[in-house]
Symmetry: C3
Subunit: 216 residues, 3 copies
Amino acid sequence: MPTRRAGRVNEQMLFNLVDLAGTFAFAISGATAARRSNLDLFGILAIAFITACGGGIVRDLCIGAIPPAGLSDWRYLFTAVVAALLTIVAYPWVERLTYPVRLFDAMGLGLFAVYGAHKALLYGNNAEVAILLGVVTAVGGGMARDVLLARVSIVLEREIYASAALIGAALTVLGEYLDWPAVWATWLPIVVCFGLRFLSLHLHWNLPRFGRRDSH
Amino acid sequence: MPTRRAGRVNEQMLFNLVDLAGTFAFAISGATAARRSNLDLFGILAIAFITACGGGIVRDLCIGAIPPAGLSDWRYLFTAVVAALLTIVAYPWVERLTYPVRLFDAMGLGLFAVYGAHKALLYGNNAEVAILLGVVTAVGGGMARDVLLARVSIVLEREIYASAALIGAALTVLGEYLDWPAVWATWLPIVVCFGLRFLSLHLHWNLPRFGRRDSH
Amino acid sequence: MPTRRAGRVNEQMLFNLVDLAGTFAFAISGATAARRSNLDLFGILAIAFITACGGGIVRDLCIGAIPPAGLSDWRYLFTAVVAALLTIVAYPWVERLTYPVRLFDAMGLGLFAVYGAHKALLYGNNAEVAILLGVVTAVGGGMARDVLLARVSIVLEREIYASAALIGAALTVLGEYLDWPAVWATWLPIVVCFGLRFLSLHLHWNLPRFGRRDSH
């Protein structure tokens, strides 16, 4: 079924690398949250895997990529398990440094938004599907993590987060439509999404809220 | 794959209208709940979209309609965004008037139960699939909304709600099996489902519970 | 699409029996939890059905078995409804006896882990997909139940639970790869998974945790 740009081997390798890097980044963020909720070893591994692969699995179901790569390709499971075990071993260190965790999470956001939009286009979908599924890939795993830990998803509450993924995914689609060179089409959206998220964290940018002042 | 009744253009237009009206109704109900939970602009748009399209996306995955119409057809996204923005702008007015919100929600319930059952039949499924997916279409978005806002789904607790959707979906299937005229087969189940929900709200009808008296 | 071992009628009947027995077991566990949360009649039926069939529906979506058997095969719905009604009628009796409920849940765990892995292989998937989807089949419904009741999933917190399903699913895959006789390949993993879960309940085995002592 993949029709667009099939055979461009180098580009595909680049995207695979992007995807695995995102998996690693999100698995650390998932394992950290699960560890904080005092889950057992299996719970930490499961939440790390779901955070890392949940968004991509939903994307694959929506584009008909059966079975989802997150389930059938051992590299995802392997990457998530390694990241989770590293988090457990290095936890006292990870906990003190919330900074690197957020950095990893912001990287995962950019990497997944771009890879998700790219894969949806590769399967012949239109721009809207690609942008929406780029966002789903980027924030779906984190939403599943928060739902399973029974808390309001910080994805929906935090500083610019899903909106950064939206911009990253939209830039990816724009790049593919305008046929930008692969390196640009891949890295520019990743850097923009990561940069937006990173700056919003540091400068406490927020999207407008409309509630009473005292609510938060 | 759609085999039943393909080509009956007018009927299809009627069902599309029903589906978009349901989208609008549920998006308002979702945006109102998100606004009350003090989510930011993107969170409100996301919850409105998920409430409006979540049930239909799950239905489409279950019948193999890939990609789901909620993702690929811009009219759903557009309708949900317009409804959400209207809700934000008119919020002081919407909040005082919980009545119209519930009215919209009851309308969405009927419209989606009927459209969901209809689409499942159109894809060649049996009566059981059509009825269950009618209910999923009608209540799935609301359940996703409540799960994301980390509260016990009112879908499961409230006065006659999902059971009204069940009756609407079952009537739709009956109508298609008995080959009722399209207008009847469409509007009768919508009106019955809406009416049941509406009356149960006003008259505080409830399904039996079996718990201790003091629990609620 | 089913390619492996098609036509072995007796074996298929055995697996179907296993699947329905798991459905019955999990529906009781779901109905009991819903009853405790004071849901109404429809809510209890819905949670029983989702607990019993939710994992299998996700598995079927992931392997492309459309529509999912949990929706299209009346025996699942019928079994779940009967189990839920029995639970309601016999509730005073069920509540005093948490023991049989846990016993049923442990049985469902083993039965579903094995059936899920088996069905994934039958659809031509690799060992990783089969093992992961065996676990999803076994614990997915329970996770959905807990998410809908807005509590941290006990699946992730409890004594050896999902890890028992993992071992059951892995043994199933091993048995099919080594071509064990059907009765062994079916019952050995079920008994091992059930036994692990059962012993962990009685002997309070737990996987390691890494949190502060006071947290639980």
